[in-house]
């Protein structure tokens, strides 16, 4: 791998991240999708907790879950389904015939998506905090940052893997994303501590949000540790393993997808 090739791929990452970041400023629909929608859920679930007489930390759990759900939506709709849309628009074949690795395209999409979504997640968190007057008690900032960034790394790794898989599976990517969206809210404990799901939590830990969110709750709220699923250190370890596994699988499936595309000639044709 020569220097020129590496520079070209770095440029490609930047190039592909650009529309993601720009889209955040130009299309207001994303504001509705990524801030107002999660916020409405946050208000609904927070108010239900309030009505049921839950402690303030539970309201915080719901707000944090709502904020992190923006990343899940981003991964589902703008990562997993993305290569499918790229194929439909004809971009995919231009990416394949460019002298770069497709991994750079997906990395660019991820980084752009992460940046844009972080702003929206922050907005949900801030507004939710304001509405429900939340109290945070920061336990360990290093761990907090580590859990947050590892969650994103593993989550977008999963998104990169799904992007190729969706394309290999076929035509109705939209339905797949639609299918996964809500059940993941449930099994990841987006609005309640995943500890209450018992053993299901171990399976849903394959979704990085599950352990990531649990870790963040433990590190941000007083009652977080009481309702924690696993210890934060174990969760960090799981996130590292997930990041590596998903990154490797993403590269593997991307190669497989490209090979299938070239072998069967289907993946660069619209409507196949």
């Amino acid at each position: 791998m020569n220097k020129e090739y590496i520079i070209r791929n770095l440029k490609a990452i930047l190039g592909r991240a650009y529309p993601r970041v720009i889209a955040a400023n130009r299309e207001y629909s994303w504001i509705i999708a990524d801030i107002i929608l999660p916020l409405l859920s946050v208000i609904a679930y927070g108010t239900l907790y309030k009505f049921l007489g839950a402690s303030k930390d539970f309201l915080g759990f719901a707000v944090l879950g709502g904020a992190m759900s923006a990343f899940w939506l981003n991964v589902l709709w703008d990562m997993a389904s993305q290569l499918y849309w790229e194929k439909m628009s004809g971009n995919l074949q231009l990416y394949i015939l460019s002298p770069i690795s497709l991994v750079s395209i997906l990395l660019g999409m991820s980084i752009g998506g992460m940046l844009a979504t972080s702003l929206r997640a922050a907005a949900t968190l801030i507004v939710g905090t304001f509405i429900f007057k939340l109290d945070f008690s920061l336990i360990n900032i290093t761990q907090l940052l580590l859990v947050f960034f590892l969650t994103l790394a593993a989550l977008y790794g999963l998104g990169m893997m799904l992007a190729s898989l969706y394309l290999i599976w076929g035509r109705e990517a939209w339905h797949l994303s639609e299918f996964f969206q809500e059940p993941v809210y449930l099994v990841s404990g987006m609005y309640f501590p995943v500890k209450f799901l018992g053993k299901v939590g171990f399976f849903s830990s394959l979704i990085p949000l599950t352990v990531g969110l649990d870790g963040l709750r433990q590190l941000l709220f007083k009652e977080g540790a009481t309702f924690g699923f696993l210890s934060v250190n174990i969760e960090i370890l799981i996130l590292i393993i997930l990041t590596v596994i998903y990154a490797l699988l993403a590269i593997y499936y991307l190669k497989k997808m490209e090979y299938l595309a070239r072998k069967e000639g289907k993946l660069t044709i619209r409507w196949e």
Binding site: I32, S41, T47, H175, P183
Partner: protein, 282 residues
């Protein structure tokens, strides 16, 4: 007679089309699972939240929550189904313009498409309620003559779903694909304001009263009263079921008139501005 026959025919074909679009992308089993995944997940999130806080103790609120959520699914799906049809058929299938110039009225066409969603939702709502019965110890303690009120309330309330659906469909004729998010947001707002998962008075002041003027609030609380013996919104708690029914009918009529005018106005504006076949997806 001819008019009714034509209406039914048009309705039938748009319903059939809606059903096909919703379901024909996969085999029936997968479609069944897919249709249930979303509503059941959101129902279980609420049930879990409830059980965690009440620490497994069942009290009288859980049945109210389950019925509220099951009925809210209708609002969300019919509203989204009808409104999304406008964008989907306009921009993805690019058939809206052909429907517009055909003798089928847009009003009937959307009713048929909404009805396809309505039927699919019925399955998931039914499953949520049955689940509550079997696993969560939900018991019905209906009012006298519930078997008369239940179908009447179901019917009148269902009409209100379609009326609201026309409102958002009308908006979507005028705006770009952001409409899909607007519609989803609207479903979220309905969840908050109609007392589906907590009493409307949980919100302070004005926000806690808005729901009274939304037909779905009366519908959901009325259905609770019919099936469980009481509702949970203080405004309706002492109101007789007959009075609630009259109120629902009156609100339906008022909304129907306003929204019918708005819908036709939207279509007119869309035609004037050339929005019937606009493409905003690219």
């Amino acid at each position: 007679m001819g008019i009714i026959k034509k209406f039914l025919n048009d309705f039938k074909s748009s319903f059939y089309l809606g059903w096909k679009i919703e379901s024909n992308w996969t085999d029936p089993l997968l479609f069944f699972i897919y249709s249930l995944a979303k509503p059941l997940s959101s129902a279980f999130i609420l049930i879990f939240m409830y059980m965690i806080i009440s620490q497994g103790q069942m009290n009288e609120m859980l049945p109210h929550l389950i019925i509220g959520n099951a009925l809210h699914l209708y609002t969300a799906n019919v509203l989204f189904g009808m409104a999304w049809t406008v964008i989907d058929d306009r921009e993805f299938y690019e058939t809206l313009k052909y429907i517009y110039i055909s003798p089928v009225s847009m009003f009937q066409f959307l009713a048929g498409r909404g009805f396809a969603k309505y039927l699919i939702t019925t399955i998931s709502s039914f499953i949520i309620i049955i689940f509550g019965f079997i696993f969560l110890n939900v018991r019905f303690t209906p009012i006298a003559s519930w078997y008369i009120y239940f179908p009447i309330f179901l019917f009148v309330g269902s009409i209100s779903l379609f009326i609201i659906g026309y409102f958002f469909a009308g908006i979507n004729f005028l705006i770009s694909r952001q409409g899909s998010f607007l519609t989803q947001s609207a479903a979220g707002v309905f969840l908050l304001l109609t007392g589906a998962i907590f009493p409307i008075d949980t919100f302070p002041g004005f926000l806690g009263k808005v729901g009274i003027y939304i037909p779905q609030t009366i519908w959901i609380d009325g259905m609770r009263k019919i099936l469980l013996g009481d509702g949970w919104n203080s405004f309706f708690i002492n109101m007789s079921i007959n009075r609630m029914l009259s109120m629902l009918i009156i609100e339906n009529i008022i909304y129907f008139i306003i929204i019918f005018l708005f819908f036709n106005f939207s279509l007119k504006i869309a035609r004037q501005r050339g929005l019937i076949d606009q493409r905003t997806m690219g």
